[in-house]
């Protein structure tokens, strides 16, 4: 173990530069983010992930955000265990009818100000599961969504630039 730890001290970090914020999403968001929230939260955002019916593909890529290459926490983001500690709900999956109430209750348990990021093509509009008797629809059919990150699944870079969009949007508001 000592050797592994020592190497960690001397090796250059694997962590990569941040991708740029998603421009299309940015313009979309500026209109919605409250300037007061920016002042209150600074650049630190706590995220509660909710799988509302995904195939688990999106979860794998959200997990990857924590590895040494993407190192999400350097931007002030962190995943928290309870919606009561969260500023952002990151929701995946077509929302199944069996998860609809759990998602609504999670959203209600999250204190204001809060944002919802819908991750993946299924979370956008139900994806290839749309139309099933067991599906309520995309995330916006159940709770208000602030940002969509598309992809099947979106890769960690896309997720990261989506999250950075949230912060940038707040910055724009603070400036303007």
């Amino acid at each position: 173990m000592r050797r592994l730890l020592a190497e960690g001290l001397f090796r250059r970090p694997l962590t990569e530069p941040a991708p740029s914020a998603d421009d299309a999403g940015l313009a979309d968001l500026v209109a919605r983010v409250d300037a007061a929230a920016r002042v209150r939260l600074g650049r630190s955002l706590s995220i509660r992930e909710v799988d509302a019916g995904s195939c688990n593909g999106c979860e794998l890529e959200i997990h990857a955000l924590g590895n040494a290459y993407y190192d999400l926490e350097r931007f002030g983001f962190r995943f928290v265990a309870s919606p009561r500690h969260a500023d952002v709900l990151m929701v995946t999956g077509p929302v199944t009818k069996n998860m609809k109430e759990a998602l609504e209750r999670t959203w209600n348990a999250t204190p204001e100000p809060k944002w919802v990021v819908a991750v993946g093509d299924c979370a956008f509009d139900g994806g290839c599961f749309a139309g099933s008797y067991a599906i309520a629809g995309g995330v916006s059919a159940v709770i208000p969504v602030d940002l969509h990150v598309r992809g099947c699944p979106p890769d960690p870079k896309a997720l990261l630039s989506g999250l950075l969009t949230l912060i940038e949007a707040e910055d724009e508001l603070a400036k303007g």
């Binding site: 688990n56 990857a64 590895n67 759990a102 999670t106 599961f129 099933s132 008797y133 067991a134 699944p153």
Partner: protein
């Protein structure tokens, strides 16, 4: 004579299902098969319905050959298998929820996938409207003064899929765990029925995102068996390269995550880097990090243009991974948590026949890459590790051994790649020669295929019936988790609550694959 050959001899008719037969049976033969499975002469590999019949797949010991028995549903009923063989209980509850077909004599009458929220009952059967709101669920009772309950989920604390766990504990000790699943039920069977092959292939790739390659592989093989489609040799090899990359990525992730659940974060950090390297190499080689939608009926959707990045990946993993194994071996504090924790006894593993590392850590040797074997695994030498301890440590060690095997297999397969086509562009529609059938004549026999492939989690089974227009007439998708989830309830028994994450992560069952 084996149970399987005896049953075939008793068949009313033998249906043209490929590559293993499906037989129509009477109640007597059905009962005989059920008793044979319950007494350990064969493994239960699946239980499902298409609305007309109830089908039971059994897997023969030693050869891994499948046999599907079909019993006509009479008056909306069939004799319960779960009454005699408990692993069939949940599949029967699913049949009842989806089709409204009653397993007669079944000891558990509670709904399973149906939470009363679909607005329908029996969505695949009568589909009667249901607007009374969600059903209450009666958990199994545990009685005694010092007992308390802990309810967890469906929204969990980590970045994982939803499900509900109801623990009953005496102080720190778990005396009962009961799972309630079905939260991610998406109605996949209904979406599949009537779908074109193209759409069904896309859906099959999304049964469980972590084993998308294995699912696409099994679905493609089942379709190819049903339609008699040949697959180019190069595609066969590329499929296995992808399947082993997927296994490598998942086992590396699990190894790190299990250790992390014992607060040994350094392993997660290192394994996370290796896993990321596998995903990046997969993207370079096949154009998608998880290799979703790369395997399609007839071959593969993308060719591999350069195998050097994959060989470089193996070299990188080999430079680091053995040291991580040494780290695991030398960390007494970590092994204090994994050794003798969450034991799955070999006897229970024999009865439930769980596939994957769970079965192989508890005395089973089944790996469908080995028996019955399928191309290209049928002409390559590799070891299938097996241990008898059945604890978290054994499940970790099976994964470690399989990581090494996967690297060996990737290297072997890449060495055998020869130039050639990768996709057989077939037409699933049989109507090229116009059929001169009148209404009164019997319809042309449907084309059926069944296939199993080994995912990182265990064997996935796909059964498919394709109509003349090349659309899905009926389908069964069975994730290995179906026979693994119930065992998690057994292994936590007598352990402390704090060890549940270790037990759970070392199982790593799929919610989406189970709930469909």
């Amino acid at each position: 004579m084996t149970l399987r050959s005896d049953l075939i001899a008793e068949a009313v008719t033998i249906e043209p299902q490929h590559p293993w037969p499906r037989i129509d049976v009477d109640v007597e033969t059905w009962d005989r098969a059920m008793l044979g499975i319950a007494s350990g002469q064969a493994d239960l590999a699946g239980l499902w319905s298409d609305g007309t019949d109830v089908h039971m797949a059994l897997s023969e010991h030693g050869t891994g050959a499948l046999l599907v028995l079909s019993l006509p549903v009479r008056d909306g009923r069939f004799p319960s298998v779960g009454l005699t063989h408990p692993p069939a209980l949940r599949p029967e509850r699913a049949i009842r929820d989806l089709w409204g077909i009653e397993p007669e004599g079944a000891p558990d009458g509670r709904r399973w996938l149906d939470h009363g929220r679909w607005g329908l009952r029996a969505p695949l059967g009568a589909a009667t409207p249901h607007d009374d709101g969600p059903d209450a669920y009666r958990f199994l009772p545990s009685e005694g003064r010092p007992l308390h309950q802990i309810a967890v989920g469906p929204v969990h604390a980590g970045i994982i899929e939803p499900g509900h766990f109801r623990f009953t504990a005496n102080g720190e000790i778990v005396v009962r765990l009961e799972e309630r699943l079905g939260y991610v039920h998406k109605g996949l069977d209904r979406l599949m029925i009537g779908a074109s092959l193209e759409r069904a292939t896309k859906l099959a790739a999304r049964v469980s995102g972590d084993s998308t390659v294995a699912w696409s592989f099994a679905f493609a093989r089942a379709v190819e068996a049903a339609l008699g489609v040949a697959v180019p040799r190069r595609a066969v090899i590329l499929r296995a390269v992808m399947a082993e990359l997927e296994r490598l990525a998942n086992h590396l992730g699990d190894f790190g995550a299990i250790c992390n659940d014992a607060a040994f974060a350094i392993m997660l950090a290192h394994c996370g880097v290796l896993r990321e390297k596998v995903l990046r190499a997969s993207k370079v080689a096949f154009g998608h990090r998880l290799m979703m939608d790369r395997i399609v009926p007839g071959g593969v959707a993308v060719d591999l243009h350069d195998s050097r990045p994959l060989l470089a990946l193996l070299a990188e993993i080999r430079a680091v991974f053995p040291r991580l194994v040494t780290l695991y071996d030398e960390a007494a504090s970590l092994q204090n948590r994994t050794v003798s924790t969450g034991i799955l006894k070999p006897d229970l593993a024999r009865r439930w026949a769980p596939g994957g590392p769970i079965g192989r850590a508890s005395g089973r040797t089944f790996d469908c890459r080995k028996v019955p074997a399928y191309p290209p695994y049928d002409d390559v030498a590799f070891e299938v590790p097996s241990l008898a301890e059945g604890d978290v440590d054994a499940r970790v060690r099976i994964r470690i051994a399989e990581i090494e095997t996967s690297m060996h297999l990737i290297e072997t397969f890449l060495g055998r790649l020869e130039p050639g086509p990768v996709l057989n562009d077939f037409d699933a529609n049989r109507d090229h020669a116009p059929l001169a059938l009148s209404e009164s004549e019997s319809p042309p026999s449907a084309r059926e295929g069944v296939a199993r492939t080994e995912s990182f989690r265990g064997d996935v089974l796909v059964w498919v019936r394709i109509d003349d227009a090349g659309r899905i007439a009926a389908v069964y998708l069975r994730d290995p988790s179906v026979f693994q989830w119930p065992l998690l309830e057994a292994v936590i028994d007598g352990n402390i609550v704090a060890d549940f994450p270790l037990c759970n992560k070392s199982f790593n069952c799929s919610y989406s694959g189970h709930d469909l």
